[in-house]
Symmetry: C2
Subunit: 216 residues, 2 copies
DNA sequence: GACGACAAACTGTAGTACAGTTCAACTGTA
DNA sequence: TACAGTTGAACTGTACTACAGTTTGTCGTC
């Protein structure tokens, strides 16, 4: 332990900080799906140059939260049934692939912790927290694949999904959430991979249908 | 069929075109791994403004070919043993997940076509072409997962990989290439999923070792 | 040969300018 | 009233200039 542990200079650019900040705001719903990010307005409000904002938004594009349209600038992504399907299909493939593997002890522990956290969260009743724990549980499952690249990719899917969930403010009873995840968790814990895969598949099917209904 | 089919206006920005062009050059080896992309030099040479180049490079970042370092600008990604491992692990997980599924007839046809193309390419002796067909074959396998998002993700891995392969100009006899892929293809064609998975795994192992040796 | 000062090259950011595009409000017409 | 065409404000895409702060290579010194 050095005396300088934790000390760190501000090794980041203005554009990066802006991107992080904007990302947060978008996730919190400050900009709705389909909204345009107007460069001059943001630049003026935050007191930075327009090209810096432009760069920040390009960084934001990396995370998938906005996309560029020619002559319209950055637009916050909006959920469509097709996008929801594509998102959940990818999730389902990754999670079932993970569930077909035998987790290492520490991976099983991580999944167990994630499940316990989820149960706790449902008791507290904080909807946003439940969503986060829910997604964290699934991330822990994917981690069994032992691939950082896939972890990252899944995290980006999760980020998109979390955004959709936020803006759609899904309503689900905590008991349902726990029940659905418990069967998955039990199957994994008991090493019943076939059932884990089947339950995951069913869980994803239910979720995608619920979500698509919210879009009317 | 409309009378205007295929008619399209040039709906793209300068920055996007620059990004495409730069991507091509990098892939072709005009910039080696670890090289910096100097903004003013490129801007001057191409007769565009520096901020346009900056934007183009941010777009490039999306494809994963370069990454930004604070105060050093854009740097072409360089292969390290860890990166190679991470790349191949992700590939292996996706491909084996795909190989555990039963392909639909048209997917099997696509795989067959890809394999035939690969065989043809080895006969012609064009190394770059062989690499392309090789990767296309694997992409066809991943397509069995039926997920556009995963297809895209795999394509991005492929792009990185192809770049590494190009700069390392791997040498392998065409016969070896065909033989390795034939066992995989045969297993898939015959519906022997277990063997397909095993052969894919072995193939990836061999490739990653070869590639890591090239890095010394 | 290691060290440190110095200079050159470059990035990060600000700010201004302007042509071209989008979009919504307005206008005239059937 | 419905609709086509026009107009103008708002905004994007791009260029150019400027400068502080950082990195890096070089050169002289110990």
């Amino acid at each position: 332990m050095s005396a300088l542990d934790g000390l760190e200079v501000r090794r980041t650019t203005t554009a990066q900080q802006l991107a992080d900040g904007l990302s947060e705001r978008i996730m919190a719903g400050a900009f709705g799906p389909g909204d345009r990010l107007r460069e001059s307005a943001i630049a003026a409000e935050l007191g930075v140059a327009r090209n810096t904002i432009r760069e920040a938004v390009r960084i934001l594009e990396l995370t998938g939260l906005v996309r560029y349209e020619v002559n319209r600038g950055a637009v916050v992504i909006a959920p469509t049934p097709e996008k929801i399907d594509a998102l959940y299909t990818a999730r389902e493939r990754l999670e079932t692939a993970a569930a077909s593997r035998t987790p290492r002890p520490e991976q099983l522990e991580a999944i167990t912790r994630a499940f316990d956290d989820l149960v706790d969260a449902t008791k507290s009743g904080d909807v946003q927290d439940v969503v986060d724990r829910d997604l964290a549980f699934h991330q822990a499952i994917v981690a069994v694949l032992d691939s950082t690249r896939l972890d990252e990719f899944f995290a980006s899917l999760t980020k998109e999904l979390r955004f959709y969930l936020t803006v759609l403010s899904r309503q689900e009873t905590p008991d349902e959430v726990v029940a659905q995840h418990r069967v998955i968790f039990d199957a994994i814990r008991l090493g019943d991979r076939e059932r884990a895969v089947a339950e995951l598949r069913a869980h994803v099917d239910v979720s995608v249908e619920q979500l698509k209904q919210l879009l009317h």
